[in-house]
Amino acid sequence: MRSDQRSSKWLKLAAIAGLLFLHLPLALIFLYAFTTEATSYQFPPPGLTLDWFEVTWNRADVWEALGLSVKVASISTVIALVLGTLCAAAVSRSRFFGREAISLLVILPIALPGIVTGISLRSAFNLADIPYSTLTIILGHATFCVVVVYNNAVARFRRLSASMIEASMDLGANSFQTFRYIVLPNIATAMLAGGMLAFALSFDEVIVTTFTAGQQATLPIWMLEELVRPRQRPVTNVVAMVVVLVTFLPILGAYYLTRSGTDTAGAGK
């Protein structure tokens, strides 16, 4: 009895230590968003203030980077939704030569280190003489966003039995009606979950972006630059808080959408 209590106490302690290890750095980032000391990380902070929020709000470069990040994430998510869902439909709905190979090729970009993806994209853009721009960032992000959407959609397509689509046709529906009333409602939550994860992935992506961006900076790139030449250091922390919230909410949403017995595959990169 006593030893049980002791071991459960130790387990609790270990769990708390693990959680601290994971989240203390995050808490520190949040804390220093409120510090009065602008140039160094002094602990404890000499004072707390909300001024940095106002400063951040008034900085044009922050807005520019945030705008670009949202734009890139949105467009690459839309591209990923279309391509990933179509690809999942093709792979799970029909049998053709090389089907397994295609499935593997689609998933590969997420297994590759980002730096390999980045370098290969950069040389491809060079060869094709495509100037680095917002478009190239979007294309780069789309490569791994497609995988996330594909993985979610393909799992759902597998549960959608072929006879259900046949039943719809048999009952008089044309292809469009079958897609609209039968296929879409059954894969919608998987698409939404995949889309949210894709958005979150794109929003905080650094490596591929470094290789595919021109002069523009997405939010994570902007933060890296800020760390190198710090002016008003806590502004970075305020932005970091925003990034955490912006990426955390979609992931939470994806979790709740697919929790009812569906796999959310490929959630991490």
Partner: protein, 331 residues
């Protein structure tokens, strides 16, 4: 009588596999038609050719006189009850049943009213608001039936309709399906590998084997007068009697079928055909006695009150006049 479905030399080949090969078939309007055969015999492919999910490689298919080899499923006056029911999991039972009306643009209150009427026909009143996952296998089967029938098809296709149900439910659904078919007067075409199901429900049975139809006939014909050894073996528990034994028993000198209940045993003296009792199985009112006659094993169904035989007895065999039915020799 109008012909509901007609196959003229219909073939469906998948590469070298002849799933259906030059099949001729006529299904009369208002009949309860069974396609019976082992798996891979072409019965399901034939059903899919009627529903439009598959197109023939050669030959023509007419549904109520109209050629429709290439018409898509949504343009045919037929509906299907799928083997796995294929209910739409995200729709309520009522919306499932009303689906066919919805895609045709029937107004909501009208189609819901018709769906409810159909649900009451299959004894599922008050189930309209539930989801398919909340129903039992037998209830889903009824929903699938209602969903197909609401479109007022001229032919209803059923793919192994009772395969997923347990024995008791299956027997109950057999009776209900039969009653429903008689009440509605619609042509029912169903695929099954279960001969008792085919025999008890159908007006007519087509026995499939290896991509072709071996015999078409009423249950009585198929059961009592199988045309080939395959039919005799697959449909009934008929004895297959080799030519010589058939001749000795008073039949023709060719392969013949013989129902176990038409075979009687006598004391050995004076019999032209003799054998040894190999085993006796007690079946309640009757005993099933297996008799070894040379190379052949025959089974007899004997009343319990008749003479008692024991294993190893030498017996003479007799058959009732006309009980031996000559079959085509090939296959």
């Amino acid at each position: 009588m109008t012909v509901a479905v007609e196959f003229k030399k219909v073939s469906r080949h998948f590469g070298a596999v002849k799933a259906v090969d030059e099949v001729d078939l006529k299904i009369d309007e208002g009949s309860f038609f069974a396609m019976l055969g082992p798996s891979g015999s072409g019965k399901t492919t034939s059903l899919r050719l009627i529903s439009g999910f598959d197109q023939p490689s050669a030959g023509s298919i007419h549904i109520f006189g109209e050629a429709c080899e290439t018409a898509p499923p949504n343009r045919r006056p037929v509906n299907t009850v799928f083997q796995d029911y294929a209910l739409f999991p995200h729709l309520s039972i009522r919306d499932n049943v009303a689906y066919g009306l919805m895609v045709r643009g029937v107004r909501k209150n009208l189609r819901h009213q018709e769906a409810d009427e159909m649900l009451s026909l299959v004894k599922l009143d008050n189930f309209g608001d539930r989801k398919p996952a909340q129903l039992s296998g037998g209830q889903r089967q009824r929903v699938a039936l209602a969903r197909a029938l609401v479109n007022k098809p001229r032919v209803l296709l059923l793919d192994e309709p009772l395969g997923a149900l347990d024995l008791k439910l299956r027997e109950q659904m057999q009776e209900e399906l039969k009653a429903l078919q008689q009440r509605l007067g619609i042509t029912f075409v169903f695929v099954t590998h279960d001969q008792t199901e085919a025999l008890s429900m159908a007006d007519k049975i087509a026995v499939f084997n290896a991509g072709g139809i071996v015999q078409i006939g009423t249950p009585e014909e198929v059961y009592h007068r199988p045309r080939t050894k395959f039919v005799a073996d697959f449909v009934g528990s008929s004895n297959l009697v080799p030519p010589q034994i058939s001749l000795d028993l008073g039949g023709q000198s060719c392969w013949s079928s013989l129902k176990p209940e038409a075979l009687t045993l006598t004391k050995q003296e004076g019999a032209k055909v003799v054998g040894t009792v190999k085993s006796i199985r007690y079946l309640g009112a009757t005993n099933r006695v297996m008799i070894q006659v040379g190379e052949t094993e025959l089974s007899a169904l004997l009343s319990n009150t008749a003479d008692h035989w024991t294993r190893g007895d030498f017996v003479g065999l007799q058959v009732k006049p006309g009980a031996l039915y000559a079959m085509e020799e090939n296959t």
